[in-house]
């Protein structure tokens, strides 16, 4: 029992450390690829690490009008809840470290918790511009939750109805068996709709691309994080990098669970090692295709336009996916 606990602790710490490094590494790659798309050279790939280390050495300024406990607590809460999510995501063929303790609903709640912590930090900084940023973050969050909830519940329903092995809401179920393979034609189209809806939710969740509205630089001067400096800002940088990695990992875990190791016919430790690496390769590709491309190719929405986009168009898309899947499952 105790050995099991210690094993989990060691594995968990190692994984979280790796995830932190990967999040920064992907962030650096994202900046280079985006720069090349814009005919620029771009920063060195280690730039996010340099930024992080530099910020750790800087003074932590708390504004006079801020509420100190909320202002200082928010970045820790946001970063910690984002980091925790990786304990519940299966990496390749490896089961999640806290697999039995939480499912996709917990992951969504942790995502909301980290976004809400950012908004709390914005409200607590006592700056009217940060206030606007925090309001925008809340509005954006409320807008993309509907399509996200539809995607999660429809997927769980598919797992329940088709009898995929495992708990319907557990991510392990989807990484063990591809959701594309269990459905008929209209079901596959429906899953494609769900996939597209989830892809469109990604910019909102990560605060990048056309949805970088709460942190809009040229409108409200980085909005939420305008008053942050030093360690607190470093933690927010971690949070942003992690949220991008989380969304890319979720897409891979839900929709691209294919195992390279099993295809080749590996077994034992080699299977786990190969799938572990292959998982991050897939995450990298999804990251580039979904986050980097979208943020480079489009300008920024206004908040009501973004809200309308999510509540009407993306939610409509996800509901269409739900209906198509239902047609396949019920008839």
């Amino acid at each position: 029992m105790i050995i099991n606990l210690i094993m989990r602790l060691v594995a968990g710490s190692a994984l979280l450390l790796l995830v932190l490094v990967l999040a920064f590494f992907f962030d650096g790659a994202d900046r280079i690829v985006s720069a090349r798309m814009q005919r620029r050279y771009g920063p060195p790939i280690w730039q996010p690490f340099y930024d992080f280390l530099k910020l750790l050495g800087k003074e932590n300024i708390v504004p006079r009008h801020a509420t100190p406990w909320a202002f200082n607590g928010a970045p820790w809460m946001a970063a910690a809840s984002a980091l925790l999510i990786f304990l519940y995501i299966p990496i390749g063929s490896l089961p999640p470290i806290l697999g039995g303790e939480g499912d996709i609903i917990l992951i969504l709640y942790l995502l909301i918790l980290s976004a809400a912590s950012m908004a709390v930090g914005g409200f607590a900084s006592g700056n009217p511009i940060a206030n606007v940023g925090a309001q925008r973050e809340m509005i954006l969050m409320m807008s993309y939750e509907l399509p996200l909830a539809v995607v999660a519940s429809t997927l769980a329903w598919i797992a329940y109805k088709t009898g995929m092995p495992g708990e319907p809401f557990s991510l392990e179920t989807f990484s063990g068996m591809s959701v594309w393979s269990v459905l008929g034609k209209s079901g596959v189209v429906g899953v494609a709709c769900l996939f597209a809806a989830l892809v469109l939710v990604v910019p909102g969740e990560t605060g990048k691309g056309p949805m970088d509205i709460p942190e809009a630089k040229t409108e409200i001067l980085e909005g939420l994080i305008i008053e942050y400096s030093g360690t607190n800002l470093a933690l927010f940088k971690v949070t942003f990098a992690l949220r991008s990695l989380i969304m890319a990992s979720l897409i891979v875990a839900l929709f691209f669970p294919w195992s390279l190791g099993r295809m080749i016919g590996f077994g034992g430790i080699f299977l786990f090692a190969l799938d572990f690496v292959f998982f991050w390769v897939k995450v990298f590709l999804v990251y580039m295709a979904v986050i980097t491309f979208m943020r480079t190719a489009f300008g920024r929405f206004k908040i009501w336009q973004a809200s309308e986009f999510y509540i009407i168009k993306v939610a409509g898309l996800s509901l269409a996916g739900m209906i198509l899947v239902s047609v396949d499952l019920l008839l």
Binding site: R39, P128, N131, V132, A216, T218, F298, G299, K302, W304
Partner: protein, 407 residues
């Protein structure tokens, strides 16, 4: 009832190129009132000019603005030529026209890029900056400088068009005819860019006329005004230059930021045409009325009179008025009315019914040049704040002018 609160855009803001403050009254994200407060970058250039002779003031006026530097020296030089009645050789007039159009090209491209940056469309911004480099190369080939070219002087120009320069201009024309339309397509075809710029910062035809908007700002509202057409100067009389108004291209003038974008894009194409004509029709001959600067200065010292010149700068019409007194080597007085001064009046109108997210875009949409605009500053040594009415301000100005003139 939502709570109102005030948010400042500026004086230093990522979305703005120069320091200006707009205090916005907000209800949620909606702008219900706006107060624009300039006054952060007054440099007293007109005062400095009083200790300098006309040739020296050329280099001072070049530094009024970083983008339309040549427009300002052209307006100043033409005003001096008007006051002292100095003729300009035809070849010099053509070269002036060429540089004015080159400047329009790079000003409009810079503006288009910055507008994209303001709506978070960084890719188009970087694309615009890459495009702008080519015209900067041509200006460098002609004058050796990228920003303050030092090309114009009283009675002509200082640099001639050599075959090498002519070749670089030809290269540039070919390059832009090939490369500019992708940029245009990327921005106008982008649904988000359209959603961000259409029906934002609207200025109607009547308002543009009533509030004396000038340049692309007025033309985007459908006002057919272009000094190159209505009162041609330099070589413009030799070509047909039509005012670019959106109703000619798209059937209707909305007077919004998107129209201002389109007007500027079409003016880039128009400038390319004009440069083509200039290079074809370039006459042979002298480029200076008088090579010896001392003779020019001796001539302007004898001259007595007030000269006025208006030219169509990239941002609208730029007016300079110069007074020269006989026997005085220096410029007696010099007044500059930059286009932003006329356009800035329309800002509070443009802010109506828009949102906080639009504010920097609206400020940028008239292509403001704050350091061009700021002509005066009232300070109180005790640090107290007070409001000066229009009549008081006029009286104070007159009093100060009288004091300066020593009467």
């Amino acid at each position: 009832m939502e709570k109102k609160y005030k948010i400042p855009i500026g004086p230093v803001h990522v979305g703005l190129k120069e320091p200006i403050t707009a205090w916005l009254d907000l209800e949620g994200e909606k702008i219900v009132g706006a107060t624009v407060r300039p006054g952060a970058i007054h440099r007293g250039i007109e005062y400095m000019a009083r200790d300098r002779n006309p040739i020296q003031v050329i280099y001072l006026s070049e530094r009024i603005c970083g983008i339309c530097s040549f427009s300002h020296i052209m307006a100043f030089v033409r005003a001096v030529e008007d006051a002292a009645t100095i003729p300009v050789p035809p070849r010099a007039q053509y070269i002036r026209t060429l540089v004015l159009e080159l400047e329009r090209l790079h000003s409009h491209m810079l503006w288009a890029g910055v507008a994209c940056y303001t709506i978070g469309f960084d890719s188009a911004f970087h694309l615009g900056m890459v495009l702008r480099e080519k015209v900067m190369d041509v200006l460098e080939a002609l004058s050796g400088n990228r920003v303050n070219y030092g090309v114009g002087t009283v009675g002509g120009v200082r640099w001639d068009i050599t075959p090498a320069v002519a070749k670089s201009v030809k290269d540039m024309l070919r390059y832009y005819r090939r490369e500019f339309s992708p940029f245009y397509d990327v921005v106008t075809g982008d649904p988000i860019a359209l959603a961000r710029m259409r029906n934002v910062g609207v200025l109607t035809y009547e308002e543009a006329v009533r509030h004396t908007a000038v340049g692309p700002t007025a033309r985007a509202s459908g006002v057919r005004c272009d000094l190159r057409k209505t009162s041609p100067y330099e070589a413009y009389g030799d070509f047909s230059v039509e005012a670019i108004v959106p109703q000619d291209f798209y059937g209707k003038a909305y007077g919004d930021v998107f129209d201002r974008f389109l007007v500027r894009v079409h003016e880039v194409y128009q400038s390319l045409e004009i440069i083509d004509h200039v290079m074809e029709g370039l006459p042979e001959g002298e480029i200076l009325w008088e090579k010896n600067l001392n003779k020019v200065l001796a001539y302007t010292k004898k001259a007595e009179g007030t000269g006025i010149a208006s030219i169509e700068a990239p941002r609208g019409d730029d007016t300079h008025v110069v007074h020269l007194a006989a026997g005085d080597e220096n410029v007696t007085w010099w007044k500059v009315r930059a286009p932003t001064y006329a356009n800035a009046v329309s800002w509070p109108l443009m802010f109506r019914n828009n949102e906080l997210a639009d504010a920097p875009l609206i400020i940028n949409s008239i292509d403001p040049c704050i350091s061009c605009m700021e002509r005066m500053l009232i300070t109180d040594a005790s640090g107290e704040k007070s409001v000066v009415t229009r009549t008081e301000l006029l009286d104070k100005c007159r009093e100060k002018t009288r004091r300066l003139m020593g009467k």
